[in-house]
């Protein structure tokens, strides 16, 4: 009798030792539209190939036909877990390019919003890592604080997920008292929640065993793969755009950059958690600085850039100059200076860069988004090969891949 033969194969065919498994494009384990074609031997991943581009929307082409202010809503749809950072990143790029001087109060208000966005981004990522290892509680529990963050966005700009927050030069309106009250509520209540969230996971034995030693990468490989953000810091490189190339007055704040050592899923989780504490501290400092402005200074919420900042509606109706600027901005009749710029901000999952080339026209000649997760997702096969299939799922969620950003 022939040993170990499962099925009778037709003559001439080769018996395949591994199984091909398609995960995605839509699958509960992928948290987004990703396809992975994996070769698995039992439960071990032998190789994998990713297909991306399922929600490609040609943002770079669209941007070549839009005025600067019309590009902001496009950036919302990159990393939609932290769209305010993308919006601000775009505004800061434009302001650097146009050499606009931004008042300090605007910078600090922006820092508050950006750090809130970072918290909500890390919160989702970390709690999803929890969900994928079988702990749903944390995810449900922190959701109400993401809701509170969204309420603050709502109070500032009127929308929640795709925020389109702010304008070139500042904010569309000053922060309301309700916004500050909600911010205070967040600052008071969130530390306790984060503490509890951490105690649910950090020393949880099941969680540690699932995440430690899986999906690890060395610092050198991570740099070679173009990792940025928490994923790079988890591997031990202390690179953070907020410190390396400060924008929006980040040099005025006192904070540390948490780093890991092994670059595995557990370190990524710890780095994100530690960053949330740092973000909280930055928000507190920024809020104190905002409160320290008195009198007329406390009312400043935008810079003086009439060419790009929409005037107030009542001025448009009563003031000739405001009417002219309103018309010119809306119809996109403002010409950009010639030149090119690369400007980056620290996004939720890494260095979000904007490469803007202008030939002096009304729209960018070319706009390229440096999307962090597009670049580091190519390391995924290296991270999971040789590991278990169930670890591959955790690795994917702990990389903080956002399909909207990946596919641009």
């Amino acid at each position: 009798m022939e040993a170990h033969k499962n099925i009778d194969l037709p003559q001439g065919s080769i018996e395949k030792r591994t199984t091909t498994l398609n995960i995605g494009p839509t699958h509960p384990a992928t948290h987004g539209v990703f396809q992975n074609i994996m070769e698995i031997d039992g439960e071990r991943v032998v190789s994998s190939e990713q297909t991306v581009g399922f929600i490609h929307r040609a943002f770079e082409k669209l941007a070549e036909h839009r005025n600067l202010y019309q590009i902001t809503p496009i950036t919302d749809r990159l990393n939609y877990c932290s769209s305010p950072i993308n919006n601000m990143g775009w505004h800061i790029t434009c302001e650097r390019f146009l050499k606009v001087e931004i008042p300090k109060r605007v910078d600090y208000l922006r820092v508050i919003i950006m750090e809130l966005a970072r918290i909500s981004d890390h919160l989702i990522c970390n709690s999803i890592v929890g969900v994928d290892t079988g702990a749903y509680t944390g995810f449900l529990y922190v959701m109400q604080y993401r809701e509170l963050i969204y309420e603050i966005y709502e109070e500032v700009c009127g929308s929640r997920l795709t925020t389109n927050i702010g304008r070139i030069g500042g904010f569309e309106r000053n922060f309301t008292n309700t916004a500050f009250t909600k911010l205070e509520k967040f600052l008071n209540e969130y530390p306790k929640v984060l503490k509890e969230f951490e105690s649910l996971f950090t020393r949880n034995r099941i969680f540690m065993e699932r995440t430690q030693g899986t999906g690890g990468i060395t610092a050198a490989r991570a740099m070679n793969y173009g990792f940025t953000g928490p994923n790079l810091r988890a591997a031990g490189v202390d690179y953070d755009v907020r410190v390396a190339n400060p924008y929006s007055s980040y040099q005025d704040f006192d904070f540390t950059i948490p780093v890991g050592t092994t670059g595995d899923n557990y370190d990524r989780f710890l780095v994100r958690n530690a960053e949330m504490w740092q973000s909280l501290s930055i928000i507190k400092q920024a809020y104190e600085k905002v409160q320290s402005f008195k009198g007329a200074e406390a009312e400043i919420f935008h810079a003086d850039v009439p060419e790009y900042y929409l005037p107030k509606k009542e001025d448009v109706y009563n003031n000739m100059e405001a009417l002219i600027w309103h018309f010119k901005i809306i119809m996109g009749e403002v010409h950009l200076p010639k030149g090119q710029i690369y400007s980056a901000v620290e996004g939720g999952n890494g260095e979000l860069g904007f490469y803007l080339v202008s030939d002096g026209g009304r729209t960018p000649f070319r706009l390229h988004f440096r999307r962090p997760c597009f670049i580091y997702y190519q390391a995924y096969p290296e991270l999971i090969t040789g590991g278990m299939l169930s670890d591959a799922v955790v690795t994917m969620s702990s990389l903080n891949l956002i399909a909207g950003e990946l596919d641009a």
Binding site: K61, I341, Y342
Partner: protein, 166 residues
């Protein structure tokens, strides 16, 4: 010694002579050009000698009016230790957009080069898997080239009834 733009420029000129050109420091980043045949040599030199070990970004730009230099490939390199960035660009003709791949030096260049191929048709010589990445495989043109304009938003000859604008 702290690495400065001037120092980088001197080193590059010393090594490559007039094959590196058009140095500019607009908006703080040192940008310069080199010949397409030289791109790997220059990147390797920056990597080995000047510590630019991080490829931040790689993308294409199409200038249809530049004769024989229609497609430009732009590299953004970063030296983490000195915290300084440079921008290197190379131009190739649209009829024969051949560029040597940087993916052997930087793993991160792999997908960025595929993306540049996908949108501009740049042929990266030596790339292990040069195929479309964001667009469908069946696509037979390179959409970010300027010869493909988006639809004029003011056109009125279209039947818009289906979209509630008719």
């Amino acid at each position: 010694m702290a690495l400065t733009n001037i120092f980088i420029q001197e080193k590059l000129v010393e090594k490559f002579g007039d094959q590196v050109s058009t140095f500019a420091t607009d908006t703080d980043i040192l940008s310069f050009e080199t010949l397409a045949a030289n791109n790997l040599k220059v990147i390797q030199f920056l990597y080995d000698e000047l510590g630019f070990t991080f490829l931040t970004d790689l993308c294409g730009v199409n200038y249809p009016d530049q004769k024989d230099a229609e497609i430009v490939v732009v590299y953004h390199l970063h030296n983490f230790i000195e915290n300084i960035r440079v921008r290197l660009s190379i131009a190739v003709p649209v009829e024969k957009p051949d560029v040597f791949t940087a993916s052997k030096l930087f793993e991160s260049a792999n997908w960025m080069e595929r993306e540049t191929y996908d949108f501009f048709g740049v042929n990266f010589i030596g790339h292990s898997n040069l195929k479309r990445i964001l667009n469908v495989d069946e696509m037979d043109y390179f959409p970010l080239r300027k010869e493909f304009p988006l639809e004029d938003q003011t056109r009125i000859d279209k039947d818009d009834e289906m979209f509630g604008r008719g």
